[in-house]
């Protein structure tokens, strides 16, 4: 009997410090970071051989890691902002509500940052004018929720198209569109001032579950 998921890729553990801190004092932590390198991250139970063109990824020497949350593979690049939130929440349920609360929180923050028309669609996508501009996942464990989202600011869509075959499952609003026709970009700046401003807006805007 196989007892474990494939441990073929190292864990994407960039926010483990936040998780540890929240476990300790039960105080919400969040982080906004501009991603520095190109990297592919697959979901906790994702099958790399299905979700990735492994040859294309390997040819470019791009690392692959596995995140704590679920969902399909994503390509991180310097055109992305990664927003992470870890907050205490009792039990292990409430995943749907947690997604909804986090999506609303991000939409409000983005509106304050000057992008008022972002809304949620699919399970947890952020959508602007029918284009996906953010993908999210949750890792839920006893007493806390770890939510992570990738905001597309100036994504390398051509690279995404090369690395990611059409995903094995898709939200209804995708309508079979290719990545380049389905994904969009948030009209936000990526400089340090803009990232800090967004982080402050999000921190101020968190009202809890």
């Amino acid at each position: 009997m196989r007892r474990d998921p494939p441990s073929d890729y190292p864990l994407w553990d960039e926010d483990d410090d936040l998780i540890a801190a929240v476990r300790g004092d039960e105080v919400m932590r969040m982080r906004v970071r501009r991603w520095g390198d190109v990297e592919v991250v697959i979901g906790r139970g994702g099958a790399a051989e299905v979700e990735l063109d492994l040859e294309a990824v390997a040819a470019d020497g791009v690392p692959v890691r596995r995140r704590r949350g679920g969902g399909c593979a994503v390509v991180l690049d310097p055109g992305n902002l990664v927003v992470s939130l870890v907050a205490p929440l009792e039990g292990v349920g409430g995943v749907t509500s947690a997604f909804s609360a986090c999506t609303d929180w991000l939409c409000r923050g983005l509106a304050e940052a000057g992008v008022p028309d972002v809304c949620g669609d699919g399970v947890s996508d952020l959508v602007l004018a029918d284009r996906k501009v953010g993908g999210s996942c949750i890792y839920r464990t006893q007493g806390l929720v770890y939510y992570s989202t990738t905001l597309l600011i100036s994504p390398d869509l051509e690279r995404i198209e090369r690395y990611l075959p059409h995903p094995p499952r898709e939200p209804e609003y995708r309508h079979g569109r290719r990545h380049v026709d389905f994904m969009g970009a948030l009209p936000l700046a990526l400089d340090a001032d803009a990232v800090i401003r967004l982080a402050l807006l999000l921190e101020r805007g968190w009202t809890g579950w």
Partner: protein, 458 residues
Amino acid sequence: MFEFKLPDLGEGIHEGEVLKWYVQPGDLIEEDAPLVDVETDKAAVTIPSPRGGVVSMTTGEVGDVVETGQVICVIAVDGEAAAPTGRAAEETPVGLPEAADVPAAAAVATAPKAKPAAAATTQANSAVAGRPVPAAPATRRLAREMGVDIHAIAGSGPAGRVTPDDVKTYAAGGTAAVAPAVPATIPAVAAVGADLSPVTKMAAQASSVIPFLDLEPLPDFAPQGPVVIEPLRSIRRKVARKMVTSMVLVPHVAHMDDADVTDLEEFRLRMKAKREGLPGGKLTLLSFVIRAITAGLRAAPAFNASLDPFKEEIIYKKYYNIGFAADTGKGLVVPVIRGTDIKSINEISQEIEEKAALAREGKLPIEDMQGGTFTITNVGPLGGTALIPTINYPEVAILGMGKVQEKPVVRDGEIVIRKILPLTLAFDHRVADGADAARFVSELVRNLSDPSLLLLDT
């Protein structure tokens, strides 16, 4: 034996895929230790063991899908002998009622009516010593380190949750923490803590600031008959937010009038026949109305403005970007024609065609839906005699166009048949008054009744 069923992980989530087991049959597991990882759409959940004991049986291998409520693990507790692997579920009695398995899971999914009073909590915890007490792992550790039986403590946190302060208070004086008793009303619960779903909290907050507003959770309609429940998503959700914001924030007033567009329609159809097949050749009535509205806005700047309620300022815009509501099949979008004061009717018509097509295909760029200063909604092609539109906040006014119909009217003492376009201007009464609207609409009606006036203004 304790049968552990896959708990409810969230509204609408009925199953999950097993990702990893932390134990095998025969292993000893502590209460709250990780038991199994399960993945639902986009979420991975590490489920802790609700009881300590010896794992007798697990259900579902990695990659298998298990359903909510399905027994996924059987644990022999407190010295019980572990049943032979794979047979425990059929031969052993159920340990605890299902509702007690995951006491905290409902903290977000459903809001409690009220926080329990201290006495009730104490009694509940004492009565079920051995059952998991709602408390964070850090709090449990603290209790263990301080030699305190967590079951004896009355939790002062949401839903009776034991907090670190409760543990310290109990250890210091042997007195259970006291949770304040509050009435079983939503606003009261909202005032004391975060143990509410976002929706209930929002309703409670709204109820507390708007007198007489009585927002209560909807009743369960299912007993009345079959229902289908869909989440509010995408464009529908955005429209909902916009409309509620507008209707709550803006005091709407509607002014109505009829425009005699007989001559305009005769002119339009004649020009349309000549321009058939050319860009902008559809030459819809809307393009003429946009032109007429722009002329009106230049004369009445209050309707091309925005009111900033925080700064208490009116911002008059010296540019004219007219949005038109388009039904895309997937929802309502409002493409914007920019600079309508410097564009010909033909150019406006061409842009309407292009942007409406892009909107229907879902390919309209976001910048083409932003920056509007005034909106027109035209339900005429769909029928109806009149409408009262909702202002596209933060604009100040919106024009609703009804269906052009031939109607008998009196002209020079004679009853004649004319083509009549019903118009409704909804406007923000904070910025403009009824007399302003009457003048604005009268001028609009005059311009639409005489196409030469529109052409002169081009």
